[in-house]
Symmetry: C2
DNA sequence: ATTTTGCGCAACCAAATAGTTGCACGTATA
DNA sequence: TATACGTGCAACTATTTGGTTGCGCAAAAT
């Protein structure tokens, strides 16, 4: 089974769940109340998110709180890094171009 | 049809294609040579990437060069932004904790 | 002790997806 | 002009995915 953070954040509901529990840990039921879906559906999403370490569980009595595991998000950020370099370079080039035009005007 | 950059980068082959053409624009055939897959499969991935504006085409004779559209990557980066804030805050907190311990040692 | 609540899990279903094969079309080359 | 090449696209298949329903189990409430 393919299970990586990229595949995990492909689903809009899962992205929303991540944003939601980033603020504070929540139970599946509490999460489900925020969306137009059932607890079981949320539970499945949480399972996927847990399997790729984007969230972690924390039992408290019969309730299970899910909270964001921010470290795994860095993996996505790390992959983006290489592209960030590109757009920063291009921005610099644009910047240089603009300042060249500016100088020519003077 | 769901078509957003998050869903696009969920596939490892598509991520590899993006990295590949980030360096320089390439034709579908040239891209396919880099992977253990057929041209048609690559073509399908390119279609998806094109549909969500992560790449753009540039015809040259009968060849079609595909190049990275770096701007759309920023959309993913923008979403990550909110989590980056979290891990930076946590790092600061850890940093403060460490310096507190350091002071106590003195 | 019995009922309710919160939960995970397995079975099932419809829709989406990755990949293959075959074809059509325009561009080069002979 | 005839042939080869580079490509997109449609049809088909196997697999995956998101969602639902219906369990069973353990903790809390009655």
């Amino acid at each position: 089974m393919r299970r990586d953070p990229f595949q995990a954040i492909a689903d809009p509901t899962r992205r929303a769940i991540l944003v939601l529990i980033a603020v504070q840990a929540m139970t599946p039921n509490a999460i489900a109340e925020h969306f137009d879906t059932t607890r079981q559906a949320v539970s499945k999403h949480l399972k996927i998110l847990t399997e790729c370490d984007l969230v972690k569980q924390q039992s408290q009595g019969r309730e299970i709180y899910y909270q964001l595991e921010v470290d795994k998000m860095k993996e996505i950020d790390k992959w983006l890094e290489q592209f960030r370099k590109i757009w920063e370079t291009r921005f610099q080039q644009l910047d240089q171009l603009l300042s060249t035009i500016k100088k020519q005007k003077k």
